[in-house]
Amino acid sequence: MVIGGGIAGISASIDLGNRGYEVVLVEKLPSIGGRMLQLSETFPTLDCAQCTLTPKTVETGQHPHIKLLTYSEVEQVEGKAGDFRVKIRRKAAYVDWEKCNGCGLCQQKCPSKNPSEFDRGMGLGKAIYTLSPQAVPNKPVINPNNCRYFLEKKCKVCEKICPVGAVDYEQQDRFVEERVGAIITAVGFDLIPRESFGEYGYGDVLDVIDGLAFERLNSASGPTTGEIRRPSDGKIPKEVVFIQCTGSRDPERYMPYCSRVCCMYTGKHARLYKHKVHDGQAYIFYMDIRSTGKGYEEFIQQGMEEEGILYLRGRVSRIFRDGEKIIVWGVDTLSGKKVEISADMVVLATAIVPQKDTKDLASKLGIKTDEYGFLTEAQRKLRPVETDIEGIYIAGCAQGPKDIADAVAHANAAASKVQGLFAKH
């Protein structure tokens, strides 16, 4: 069993499926793809995240040895390596997925529009939705918190429009049990909320967004169909400030650790911004540039030297709104001067933190988490994918911040550990 359908979970599932093992992939959200599906382009090659990922999600969806249980959560785990019994809650989608043919009519006609979580609150999503047009599986769910029928007991537009009669408002959560030999936990990460940062206005300053929101703005499938337009008034921002280490490497107040990907993705953001807004200026506040990967340093240098991105070594102490503009107060420690930038948009590279429910899942599995809530490996250097419990492995950002390449390598390692375990028994 693989828990978590992001790039790590998908990679491990495909590895094991291709070896002929039967895989159950459990995903909390309605479809697989995880965080990577939210990204626009990926460093250091700037290729489209969805173009790289979609073949993988489709392969997973169609794989003869992979059973997808999306919109599902692990409730209870019993047993030991070679014989785990896992109780899984299949959340009520209010749509009969057996009947649904994925035509999408219900989503077109649904009258309830709400800020989309997938688009970081910027675009509007429907109450009956799939996460993306290429969702795997391409089956919608109804969010009862936004649905007019659930809130006001009227509407039922989706039920009327559905050509196969798949909408079922009476559906309840179901429980299924799966018996598996090993478990890979690849539940991914979250970002520390913008609301945590008082000095940056507690999330109240308009057009101050986080890195994932910028990914959505830049994505062709995002709320602006890939045009860089600021959320408040849809204007194209001409001065954009990026702030690295927002909440990372700050032991006194936030997270003491380095989130590992922000240097690279901020450099990428600034470059992508310049590719779309040629007369715009990108500023990056940084502490150090940590570009330790293949082709990474070259990628950052190219941004500095060829694309005119202005790197300022220093921290930002305050952000506030002054009319149309966002005032950014920082310091350039190389020149020793205070810097004030009158910006149109600010992007915070907020720290990577574990998912809120990672701890809860860890206790169900009987594995450990560290002081921040990341899953703990059996040994820091030599056993990076095993846990203290035989047969339970970890992969990807659930263990700690990683970029895509590292998360995939970690998942591949977890999958081969599972194969090793099965070969032994």
Binding site: G198, E199, F320
Partner: protein, 289 residues
């Protein structure tokens, strides 16, 4: 209930209006400010050289004397509040310093006084809803910018006065009086402090930014809790006017002066003659005299 009160030097001289209005208003609100006996200057800055015990002695002596008279001490001036509260915390938490200080001042003070700002009494002891009920002349139509400055809030770990980045106690106070509290981004920025002595231009520039931001956001008046801030943002307005010709001065009140108006005190007792920018025209215009 009575509160032991440390006025501080400035409130006996340049800011008599702050002191008097606070005392008079407290009586109307049902408590008395009982002045501490034999008080001295608080030291005026919290010493950053931690090994220099001498600088901690004036506030320590004040605290020790106050403890002999009661369990809580209140102040008005933001700087005194800062120095006294931080010294109290130091004595409370640092046994070695506590012993040294006590040896010097020949007292045995343990740091167990509660240090309260007047605004905290209004919020926590009186309660803003109750205060609102006591208002005789609501400050309707007055758009006032609550200016906190630094000393009430920083350093946050030591002061713990309100939210460090987005405090609201001062605005809540103004709303309770019926005024419209104007939000402006410079409300927690430094006024320039003692730079007004050594580098007056620096302080003038700070004051201009604060005032300009408040005015831009619709403020007709500023409200302060600090004689130092008041000096820079009120008395310095004539300098600002010389440098920026289009600058239009606005009055700066101590918060207790506005409290006095709202409580129905005669304006002639509110000490407006000590305000640099005359507030009477604005008050007249708003029908608050």
């Amino acid at each position: 209930m009575d509160y032991l009160y440390f006025p501080g030097c400035t409130l006996y001289t340049k800011a008599k209006n702050f002191d008097q209005t606070a005392r008079n208003c407290s009586l109307l609100l049902g408590f008395e400010l009982k002045e501490l006996k034999n008080w001295t200057c608080c030291g005026a800055t919290f010493p950053l050289a931690t090994d220099n015990i001498m600088a901690f002695l004036p506030p320590s002596r004040i605290l020790a004397t106050a403890r002999e008279e009661g369990t809580a001490l209140t102040t008005l001036c933001a700087i005194c509040f800062n120095v006294i509260k931080r010294t109290n915390r130091l004595i409370q938490g640092d046994g070695e310093k506590r012993d040294k200080i006590n040896n010097f001042i020949e007292k045995n003070y343990q740091g167990d006084l509660q240090i309260l700002h007047y605004l905290e009494i209004l919020k926590k002891e009186i309660g803003f809803p109750h205060l609102k009920g006591k208002v005789k002349k609501p400050l309707e139509g007055l758009k006032a910018a609550a200016y906190y400055g630094c000393m009430l809030l920083r350093p946050f770990e030591e002061m713990g006065f309100d939210d460090k980045e987005k405090p609201s106690i001062f605005e809540e106070f103004l709303e309770a009086l019926g005024a419209k509290a104007v939000e402006f981004p410079y409300k927690i920025e430094c006024c320039g402090s003692f730079q007004s002595v050594g580098s007056p231009d620096v302080a003038t520039e700070c004051a201009y930014k604060i005032l300009g931001s408040a005015i831009k956001n619709g403020a007709e008046a500023m409200v302060s809790t600090c004689p130092m801030c008041t000096f820079n943002i009120d008395h310095k307005q004539s300098d600002i006017k010389q440098k920026y010709l289009d600058f239009k001065p606005i009055p700066v009140f101590y918060f207790t002066q506005l409290l006095g108006i709202a409580m129905g005190l005669d304006y002639q007792t509110l000490g407006f003659e000590q305000n640099a920018v005359d507030p009477l025209p604005l008050l007249r215009e708003k029908g608050l005299l």
